[in-house]
């Protein structure tokens, strides 16, 4: 693990709130939220090769958990985060079991269905979940508080992901992605590791969802967790590049900041043009960096020297 880049990132994050306005602290918190969610999706899709277009659903579960515990049970907001993590983890495991029977496009569609249907629950059970108006946490927090909590959670999430993925479990995940046949034959249980990845990934998304609710003034509303959110996380993961922890921060900055920068792009950006800009940039990145930012970084890694035997006849 490279200590220097970590030190630089931490230093920037610590200094940042002193240098920027409350509004920008809010934006930076969004980046932290996307960071956690993309990190989670990366564990699932990048490491075990299971695609999900439905991570917004797990974010919704986390978000509503936090608000319900705060509004109804008067929990401390910080204390709701581990609860949100646990509940989302269990939900992830539950989704992971039927997902064992699916792969590729079919898994993508099934998780997409999740993204579509879960935000409908608050409408269906509006008595408990507040319907389309949403429900409100008992407290709201300052920009600075959100920034500090958001990035602390990100740091914890990053450390947790690193610890989980660097050794035996991370290798088992990648083994599943590379060759199920060889993984099984090496003693890696597909059901266990595939559902575990779903659980862990959902737990990350759940915490991100909790933070998302807090940063939107403590409101949990169905519209917040729509299909678009799921797609944003997926795009962020693609920009990050699958299977690498380092690209994630770039993916998160991309998804977190582009929507607020896009309207400033001259000509097309103004007046409803920001989605066009967003779309164009996504297409451009996919064309230029097919392996995401992680793949881009890999180009600069020192190559393993391959000795090419020079042929006396041709040289």
């Amino acid at each position: 693990m490279k200590l220097v880049p970590i030190g630089v990132v931490v230093a920037v994050l610590v200094a940042l709130p002193f240098l920027i306005s409350g509004y920008h602290q809010g934006l930076a918190t969004y980046v932290a939220i996307y960071f956690i969610a993309i990190l989670g999706l990366n564990i699932l899709t990048g490491y075990t090769g299971q695609i999900s277009i439905g991570h917004g659903a797990f974010m919704a579960i986390g978000g509503y958990t936090t608000v319900l515990l705060s509004a109804d049970q008067h929990w401390n907001l910080l204390a709701t985060l581990p609860a949100s993590l646990g509940i989302s983890f269990v939900c992830g495991l539950i989704v992971g079991v039927p997902a064992l029977r699916l792969s590729g496009v079919y898994l993508a569609l099934a998780t997409f269905a999740l993204a579509v249907s879960v935000p409908q629950f608050p409408l269906k059970f509006s008595k408990f979940l507040g319907g389309s108006n949403g429900i409100h946490a008992a407290q709201t927090k300052s920009h600075l508080w959100l920034y500090v909590v958001g990035w602390s959670c990100s740091a914890l999430a990053f450390a947790a992901a690193w610890l989980l993925l660097r050794g035996r479990i991370g290798r088992a995940f990648r083994a599943v992605r590379d060759s199920e046949l060889a993984a099984v034959s090496s003693g890696v249980s597909l059901p266990i590791y595939k559902t575990l990845a779903f659980g862990v990934s959902a737990a990350f998304a759940g915490v991100a969802g909790s933070l998302l609710v807090l940063v939107t003034n403590g409101y949990a509303q169905p519209g917040e967790f729509g299909v678009l959110l799921s797609l944003e996380i997926l795009i962020g993961a693609a920009v990050a590049g699958l299977g690498s922890l380092w690209g994630v921060i770039v993916g998160a900055v991309f998804i977190g900041l582009l929507p607020s920068v896009a309207p400033d792009v001259p000509l097309i950006g103004s007046a409803h043009g920001q989605d066009v800009v967003f779309g164009l940039i996504v297409v451009l990145i996919m064309l230029l960096l097919p392996n995401g930012f992680a793949g881009f970084l890999r180009r600069f890694e020192p190559r393993v020297k391959t000795t090419i035997k020079s042929d006396p006849k041709t040289s």
Binding site: R171, D178, S179, G187
Partner: protein, 245 residues
């Protein structure tokens, strides 16, 4: 009681009978050659033992216990490791990482450092320690076969299934392999099931040879006997066996 046995094992794929009432017994510590022409059912037998395929009828018994209810990922834990005919590696991982995955079942409570050391030692043992940090994708076929062998060995198996280990090797290397398989067996106290088309190799290293043709057993016995068996000679149309003797 034998170490590993197939008991009246039958398996069909649609109209093809891949295994037809096959029974065999491998003694502990032996090198057991499993031969037969293309499509005879050799790889299928391996896949049945490792639970990748489910038998239609019959049983697989390892150390007195039926394997038929073990999930495929438990097989390694029970002490059976294998290599694949066409090589099944983890292409995005380095050679060392491939071997580390092989240590999955024996490294749960071990430090990363000592597992890595063990994996490196295993690579050294099979003679490819110098490519440990190279990506597995893109290495020559013969090297890949050895990576697979190291991946299998690092799990500390008692039964090793080798599916055509001589694939991609030249004559000299095949000779080396013959010696190596025997060394393996003696060093690590293994029982080896060997599927191979190189008759020379099989006849030299095996204690016992079992011959399949179209999923059926046509002969089973010591190599010298098998080489003289008219049914075996007929199945191979004479050619390869005469070369070997």
């Amino acid at each position: 009681m034998s170490f590993l046995s197939l008991q009246n094992a039958s398996l069909r794929f649609g109209g093809i009978v891949a295994l037809d009432d096959v029974s065999l017994e491998a003694e502990e510590g032996s090198i057991f050659g499993l031969i037969g022409p293309n499509g005879a059912g050799k790889t299928t037998a391996f896949n049945v033992i490792t639970r990748l395929y489910r038998l239609d009828a019959g049983d697989v018994v390892f150390e007195g216990k039926s394997l038929l209810h073990a999930p495929p990922s438990r097989i390694v834990k029970l002490g059976i490791a294998r290599t694949f005919q066409n090589v099944e590696l983890f292409p995005t991982m380095t050679v060392l990482e491939n071997v580390l995955v092989g240590a999955h079942t024996v490294s749960r409570f071990e430090s990363e450092r000592s597992v890595r050391a063990k994996a490196q030692k295993t690579l050294d043992y099979v003679g490819i320690g110098d490519v440990a940090r190279r990506p597995a994708a893109g290495l020559p076929f013969g090297t890949l076969k050895r990576v697979e062998l190291a991946r299998a060995l690092v799990s500390k198996p008692r039964l090793l299934l080798l599916d055509e280990p001589a694939g991609g090797l030249n004559h000299g290397e095949v000779d080396e392999l013959a010696t190596f398989i025997r060394t393996l067996r003696d060093d690590l106290k293994l029982t080896v099931l060997l599927v191979e088309h190189h008759m020379n190799l099989v006849m030299r290293v095996s204690d016992h040879v079992h011959v399949l043709n179209f999923g059926r057993t046509i002969a089973s016995g010591p190599p010298a006997e098998i080489q003289r068996d008219p049914k075996v000679i007929e199945a191979y149309l004479g050619g390869e066996l005469e070369e070997a003797s």
